[in-house]
């Protein structure tokens, strides 16, 4: 398990994202915090939840984390003031959340705190940079439920994917779903720097870009939803690929599968693997038909953490789960509660 922690603390930033609720994200976070070396300054924040309804749902669910003296934390004013840590206020960010402005403070004692960071990626990036400026060697971002955007490579250098029995009571199903998610997150990325630069620049101003022989053409469609017909038309009329800003879901993929001719010549670009919400059947068919799916930014999942207990009370044999996940993904798998580590 030491190898796992070493791997984490080599990173400038790590995002922890969960496949679902109750997959032990916070447990993994607490484990990492506890394992931090005495002289390393750890920075912690989270990608916040928008809207109050979600706050009510997760606010009660979300256990506070226990941090050590010396840690730097970026969280909203309300949870900050109700934390039992002795605090030194370092910086007010001006970033507002429903729970107040995001403030950075240093823990002068150990104690509990609830993390509620900015809910927008751009702001999260600002907060992480500030935490680093203030001396953090590693910044850990607690990702939000069903929101894997904090895995965005421009935000976090590495990603820890949390999974577990909450997904299913069937061990094989947990392995399959986790492996599929991992596959989406770590799709191949464009390595040609020039192509990358051009596409990224084009996506700054337009949500859909068609790649034609030697030009990039911006689509007039304002969103991907509803743009299916335009995309298919372009691909069937000379475009060799399409770059999409934002989420790509099953609906679009099914239509592409049905209607696009010469799929083996077509490439679909997405910003990164977190934007893909495609089930494994569709993804499999996409590849079989010859479509290429490429990310503009690579995501590096450094390990998978496992919680073998489900909230309904049953549990899965953790050793076997870890082993099978490892065989399927070839990534380090950890169960921090049972101190199991495979492939470290």
């Amino acid at each position: 398990m030491k190898e796992f922690l070493d791997r984490v603390f080599q990173l400038e930033s790590l995002a922890i994202i969960g496949m679902e609720k109750n997959v032990g994200k916070t447990t993994a976070l607490n484990y990492i915090i506890a394992g931090a070396k005495a002289n390393a300054v750890l920075g912690l924040t989270s990608i916040g939840v928008d809207g109050e309804t979600e706050d009510i749902v997760t606010g009660t669910e979300k256990p506070a984390i226990y941090v050590h003296r010396g840690t730097l934390l970026a969280t909203a004013k309300n949870p900050l003031l109700s934390s039992d840590i002795t605090k030194e206020i370092l910086y007010t960010t001006g970033i507002q959340t429903p729970m107040g402005e995001v403030v950075i403070f240093r823990a002068l004692s150990d104690g509990y705190v609830e993390l509620m960071g900015p809910s927008i990626n751009a702001y999260l990036r600002v907060v992480i940079r500030k935490l680093r400026e203030l001396g953090c060697s590693t910044v850990i971002v607690d990702g939000a439920l069903n929101r894997s955007s904090s895995a965005d490579p421009s935000i976090s250098e590495g990603v820890l994917l949390a999974t577990g029995a909450a997904l299913s009571s069937d061990r094989a199903a947990v392995v399959a779903r986790t492996a599929h998610k991992l596959r989406l997150l770590s799709i191949p990325y464009e390595t040609d720097k020039e192509v990358l630069h051009l596409l990224q620049k084009a996506l700054d101003t337009s949500r859909i870009i068609f790649i034609k022989a030697s030009v990039l053409e911006a689509s007039k469609e304002p969103t991907v939803l509803g743009a299916e017909v335009a995309i298919i038309e372009a691909l069937n009329n000379g475009a060799s690929g399409v770059a999409i800003k934002g989420v790509v879901g099953d609906r679009l993929i099914q239509q592409l599968l049905r209607q696009v001719q010469k799929p083996e010549e077509k490439t679909i670009y997405v910003e990164d693997g977190t934007k893909l919400f495609i089930n494994s059947e569709n993804y499999e068919r996409l590849l079989r038909k010859g479509f290429k799916v490429r990310a503009l930014n690579p995501i590096r999942v450094i390990a998978i953490s496992v919680n073998p207990y489900s909230p309904e009370g049953f549990s899965i044999d953790s050793k076997r789960l870890c082993q099978e996940l490892y065989e399927e993904t070839r990534l380090p798998i950890v169960d921090v509660v049972s101190c199991i580590g495979v492939g470290l």
Partner: protein
Amino acid sequence: MKALIGLDYVLEQLNIMTPYGGECLKSLRAFRIEEAKTLLQVIGDLERVIGSLRDYALFYNRIEREFCRLKDIRGSIKRCRSLETLDEIQLFEIKLFSIGAQFIKNHFEAIGINITGVNFRDLEPIIAILDPEGHRMATFSIYDAYSQELREVRERKRFVEGELYRATEVPRITELKEERLCWVVEEEALEKRILAQLSSSLLSYMEHLEEACTSIGVLDFTIAKAKLAIEKGCNKPLFQEGFKLQMLQGRHPYVEELLHSQGKVFTPIDITLKPGTNAITGPNMGGKSITLKTIALNAALAHLGFYVFAEALILSLCDFQYLLANDYEAVSNGLSSFGGEIIQLNEYLEATKVSRGLLLIDEFARGTNPSEGRLLVKSLMSYLNKKETISLFVTHFDGVVGAGSNHYQVVGLKNVDFDKLTDTISYDPQYGLTTLQSLMDYRLEAVEQQQEVPKDALRISALLGLDKEVVEIAKLYYSQEV
């Protein structure tokens, strides 16, 4: 009005850095005659800042860097004044503000100029309250130094936390957590008491903070005005008694910028206006409306305490500046443009009865029939000529400018040989427009004797490619009438 004359455009260019400077901008209004002294002070302040900007560039840079860091603490001041207890973050912001304001104060004093409304008081006492351990750090904590009791409670809490860190057995951990909780509760109670004490000891310094906010606002705003004046080559307006308005080489920054982006040059305007009626006549597209806006903008800027876009602007302070232009259709509630104009005009005429001002009138009555319109303009001119207010009419009605009025004419196309020209132009309107703009002499010249309005409309129409047949027919009519 602000948008119409281009004032909004100028104000948008101000690089204001603090919320307090933003407040100055928001409450900006024209000075009136009885406030002459204050206006002169404000312009004098601006002059001093402009004069010291270069020699003290380093100091100004540091002040501006500090401006960028300042947060808005007015909410906290209000809370403190209404005897609420401030929380740690509010105290943190007050501390940072005080350190920043103190820094600005020291640098401002080193520059050694006076600005009305910039009166920094010493904020060290506030900093001392919020920095009991004297670290002079830009952070805040409820420091141990505030209370021996707090120090002891925290030491105990930390001790338990250390034990907790090393404990491995569940019953022991539970026991330690319980114990820690006791200390947490005590710590919180003590912290709360200290926050209340700090809030009440800061209360007597709130006036200092408010003055600092105001001072920073005025300083920020004045520096922004000064930098804009330097960057745009603006000059100090000169206020003189003996009511008149003289503008030399006046420019309109928005139009100038627009022309510049097209590779063209703005022709600066010289004009002298007297109390009573003044008039500008001249061909269409001769820049008359721009002239009005240039005068309106610069007069407005001078009355707002800004430098002006002219080599010189000599004027007397007045109580109002109005521009009546045919842009009121949107607000005219079912009135025609002419109706809207009349209603607006009436309001302005009322003002001329109680005070003096500047009234700029662009093509009055252009929406009604020309023979009546001509008479209306003439009547209005005659009426306003007896007033102390400076009225300036732009018109192309014939023979309306009465003797004794101050009359300017756009030089226009007077010196162009049209016979030579029309052959060379094609019927491409864009080409015609460009040619027209290059030929047009936008300067104004004083008209000594009553003259006819130049008949350039036909030439301009021809230049812009009006159908040849129409032009020919027009020529025929012209020869009969003119």
